[in-house]
C-alpha cells in the first residue's frame, strides 16, 4: 500500500512522540498501557463536583491533560497546582485539564480542591473508568490526549513536570 507524504509524516510524528515519551517517563510505564497509546481515548460522561455534566467527547479540538489522583497521594498534590498554572497559561492555546479522583468519597476531594484553588473540572473515578484507561494501580497517573481525541502519552508515578510540559507543548503545537 502506498502512503502519501502526509500519512508518512503523521506516522513519523507519532513514532517520535512515543519515543520521546518513553525516554522521558521510562519505557516500562509507557508500554504498560501501550494498548491505549495512539488510540482513541476511552470516552466517558460523568458529573463533575459542581454537578455539571462532563463529557470527554466535548473536548475534541483541545489537548486534554487527564490526571488520575487522590487526596491521599502526596505527589499528586505537588502536581495539581502546576496543572492549574498550566490551565491558566496554556488554556488559551487549547489545553483542558481534567482531574479524576480515585477517592471513595467526594468530601475530601472538595476540601482539597478548594484549598488548592484548582481551576479545572474534577470528577470522581470508578473501577470501571480506571480499567478503561488500562488500570489505575498507582498514583499519580496522567494521560495526554491530542486535539483529535487520541492518547499520545502516559506518565505513571511521580514524574518530572518538565517532561509532561514538553509533551504538552508539542501537542499544543499540532493541529
Amino acid at each position: 500500500m502506498r502512503r502519501t507524504g502526509l500519512e508518512r509524516g503523521r506516522i513519523l510524528f507519532a513514532g517520535l512522540l512515543l519515543a520521546a515519551c518513553c525516554a522521558a517517563c521510562g519505557a516500562r510505564s509507557c508500554f504498560a498501557a501501550g494498548s491505549l497509546l495512539n488510540k482513541e481515548a476511552p470516552e466517558f460522561v460523568r458529573k463533575d463536583l459542581n454537578g455539571a455534566t462532563l463529557n470527554l467527547a466535548h473536548y475534541r479540538g483541545k489537548v486534554v491533560l487527564l490526571n488520575f489522583w487522590a487526596t491521599w497521594c502526596a505527589p499528586c498534590q505537588v502536581e495539581m497546582p502546576i496543572f492549574s498554572a498550566w490551565q491558566r497559561r496554556y488554556g488559551p492555546q487549547g489545553l483542558q485539564v481534567i482531574g479524576i479522583s480515585m477517592n471513595e468519597e467526594a468530601a475530601p476531594v472538595r476540601r482539597l480542591s478548594a484549598r488548592l484553588k484548582l481551576n479545572y473540572p474534577l470528577v470522581m473515578g470508578s473501577v470501571q473508568l480506571a480499567e478503561r484507561y488500562g488500570g489505575v494501580l498507582g498514583l499519580p497517573l496522567t494521560y495526554l490526549i491530542d486535539r483529535n481525541g487520541r492518547v499520545r502519552a502516559r506518565f505513571q508515578g511521580q514524574t518530572d513536570p518538565i517532561a509532561i510540559e514538553k509533551q504538552l507543548r508539542l501537542l499544543l503545537s499540532q493541529p
Binding site: V78, E104, E131, V136, L137, G138
Partner: protein, 156 residues
Amino acid sequence: MIAALAILLGPQGKVWAAGQWASPSPESALSIPKAQLMQPEELNHLLITRGAQKPLLLDVGFRMLFDESHIPGSEFVGPAARSDGLSALRDRVQPLKRSTFIVIYCGCCPWSHCPNMGPAYHLLQSMGFTHVKALYLPENFEVDWIDKGYLTERGQ
C-alpha cells in the same frame, strides 16, 4: 520541583529533613526497618512455590485499587492511614497467634509517600507480632508488581 521535594534517604534509615538527618515519623513507610522489608520477587517466589509457607497477605491500601487488581489470596483490610482502617486491621489480626507470618502491602504511591504502610506495620509490631514483613514497592503496585508479570487477581 518534585525532585526538590523528594525525601533523601540516609544512613540507618534516616531522612534528610530541615537541614539535618532525622528519624522518619512513624507514619512514614521509611520508618519500617529495612530488615522487615520483603522484595516483590521474594513474595512472588513464595506464592508460586509449592509447599512454601504462605503468609497472611493483607492489603492496607485503598479499596478502588484493590478492586482493580491485587495479589491473589490477599485480604482487603483498608487504608491504615485512617482510624477505621487501623481498627479493621486490629480486628483482623487480634485472634491470631503472634508468630503468624504476615505480609502487608499497599502500592498506592511511591514508598516514601505511602500513608498506610508505616501505621500498619507499627500497629502489628505494637500488638506483639514477631513475623511481619512489609512488601517493598518503591514506585507503586503497577510498576513494581504488575509490570514484572507477577501474580494478580481482580475483584472484591
